[in-house]
Each structure stands twice: as structure tokens, then as C-alpha cells.
């Protein structure tokens, strides 16, 4: 299995994502520049945090039109795993790959601290190594993580089990305490908290590790046997 970590001008969590893959699952991983026009070698695509294009206009608004994003849309269509973290989540919503939008935090403050998340749906390719309802500690670091969608969309998210993580103690004003959601198919996930910063107890938590091991497990279940025999 091969991972891609996208790099936009202004990404700053790309190295963390790269190292998290190396250290949690040890699978091949490459940095892929935003101008790339081929993601076919990759099975999972990580859209990292940061301030792509300086957050100009809106967070993720400009990156969403980077050439590589056409390929991300194709990969999503093909059922590949796409994980957007923080700015990556903002980019995926701007691109329409996930519903809703991220607004300024209600407090107007940049919130940078550990947060306790509840795993609402552990039946996704990204969360199967968690228990349903499990509480995990994953840090947040954002000024614009206040998730918004209209009532109708929120109901749809609930009905389809697309709400994957919620905050215990809402840090930013998100509707429904939402910290992370997936698309209907479950192969595209966006979240404001940073699992890649929580993969070693030396970093304060290793609760993010299971996201990476979940992805690899899902991939092996569908590809592993076929490629060995």
C-alpha cells in the first residue's frame, strides 16, 4: 500500500503526516506537490494541515483549484482513501468532496490544545480499530474549525452515520459538536483534530495511531490476499 502526502504552498503538517505513516504502519509514502497530475500509484491520500495559499480569501478556497485536486476527486470516485486533516478538511469541503464549511471559531481565538473526541462511527476504513463511543485524546490547532452545515444536511449526516468524531467539550462552536465527518461512501474523511500529532506517547498521546492502522487493515482486507496469491 502506498500513501501520498499532498504538499501545497503553505502546508505545514506534511512532515508530521509523512512521519506518522512511516512510524505507525511503515508503508511507502511520498510527498506529492500540488501541481501533480497523476495520483494513480497511491492507495491513500493525506491532505495535511497548514495555511495553504496563506488562507487567502477563505481557508482552502484557492488550494481547491490546484491541479492535484482534480486527481483527488478522481481517487475519491475510485474509492481510494482520502484523509483531510485541519486545513486538509477545509480544502475537502471547499472542493465539495465533503458537505458543509468551516467558519471562524466562535471564540475568535486560535485554539491549540489537546481535545477529547468521541468515536461516533467506528465502521469506517479510518476508524475500525477504535471502539464505538471510545474517547480519544487528539490535539487541535485551528482558528477556523467551526463546522457548519444546514439542518437538512446535518440530518442527512446523522442518518447516514457520516459523523465520525464529535468533541467532548466543543472548542469552536461546531454544529452538533462535529469534529470529523466522512462522505456517504465512507472513503473520504475530514477532521479538524490532528491524529498525525498523536502517534507516540512522547507526543502526549498515541490515540491517533489507530487511524493509520485502520486504513492499512481495510486495504489489506480488500487487496492483501489477492496480491499475495
Amino acid at each position: 500500500m502506498r500513501f501520498a502526502v499532498l504538499v501545497f504552498p503553505g502546508s505545514n503538517c506534511d512532515i508530521d503526516c509523512y512521519k506518522a505513516v512511516e512510524q505507525t504502519v511503515g508503508e511507502p509514502v511520498d510527498y506529492v506537490w500540488h501541481t501533480a497530475t497523476d495520483l494513480s500509484p497511491y492507495d491513500a491520500i493525506l491532505v495535511p494541515g497548514g495555511f495553504s495559499y496563506g488562507d487567502y480569501l477563505r481557508c482552502g478556497a484557492i488550494s481547491r483549484f490546484a491541479p492535484v485536486m482534480n486527481e483527488v476527486a478522481k481517487a475519491a470516485e475510485q474509492g481510494k482513501f482520502i484523509l483531510g486533516i485541519c486545513n486538509g478538511f477545509q480544502i475537502l469541503t471547499e472542493a465539495g468532496l465533503l458537505p458543509g464549511a468551516l467558519r471562524r471559531n466562535e471564540s475568535m481565538k486560535f485554539r491549540c490544545h489537546d481535545s477529547v473526541l468521541k468515536v461516533v462511527n467506528n465502521d469506517t476504513p479510518f476508524t475500525r480499530h477504535y471502539e464505538e463511543g471510545q474517547e480519544i485524546v487528539i490535539p487541535i490547532a485551528h482558528g477556523e474549525g467551526n463546522y457548519y452545515c444546514d439542518e437538512e444536511t446535518l440530518q442527512k449526516l446523522r442518518d447516514n452515520k457520516q459523523i465520525v468524531f464529535t468533541y467532548s467539550g466543543n472548542p469552536n462552536g461546531s454544529v452538533g459538536d462535529i469534529a470529523g465527518i466522512c462522505n456517504e461512501r465512507g472513503n473520504v474523511l475530514g477532521m479538524m483534530p490532528h491524529p498525525e500529532r498523536a502517534v507516540n506517547s512522547l507526543l502526549g498521546s498515541e490515540d491517533g495511531k489507530a487511524m493509520f492502522t485502520s486504513i492499512i487493515q481495510t486495504w489489506r482486507d480488500t487487496h492483501g490476499a489477492a496480491s499475495v496469491r
Binding site: A61, R104, M108, Y148
Partner: protein, 81 residues
């Protein structure tokens, strides 16, 4: 050459934390008459065309695709020249 003024504002149904904070500041300065305040963006776009209809059609696409995020924002524009 046509000039467009584009105004992007947060939808009425969506909380505008910046607007609320600035409103609070005005209140604390003694401007109690401020009933509500919403912050938006103003953009000036110069268009190298004299065809108003074409300019408007294309401007609409620009707003829908990039200048505004219609999930949380409304936009309006004025064409001049």
C-alpha cells in the same frame, strides 16, 4: 473595460463571530445604538470586456466557484463602466 464591485457576506442564518465581537466592542465604547453588525468582503474586479451580459454571466460563475462559498456566504455585485 468594465469594473465590478463584488460584496460577499455571511448568510443571515449563519453566525458571524467577527461581527459579534466588533458589535461588542462598539457597545463597550458607548455606541449602544448598534443593533447588529456583520462583516463581509468587498472586491474590485476589472474585466477586460465591454460586453455587459458576458461580463455578468462570467462574474456569476466566478462568485459561485471561488469568490464566495455559497454554503455559508451570500454575494452580490455591481457592474460599472
Amino acid at each position: 473595460m468594465l469594473k465590478a464591485k463584488v460584496y460577499v457576506t455571511i448568510k443571515q442564518s449563519v453566525l458571524d463571530p467577527q461581527g459579534v465581537a466588533v458589535q461588542g466592542a462598539l457597545h463597550s465604547m458607548g455606541f449602544q445604538e448598534v443593533e447588529s453588525l456583520r462583516i463581509g468582503k468587498y472586491m474590485e474586479v476589472e474585466l477586460n470586456t465591454d460586453d455587459r451580459q458576458e461580463a455578468e454571466d462570467r462574474l456569476k460563475v466566478m462568485c459561485e466557484k471561488l469568490l464566495a462559498n455559497t454554503v455559508v456566504e451570500d454575494y452580490r455585485y455591481e457592474l460599472e463602466g
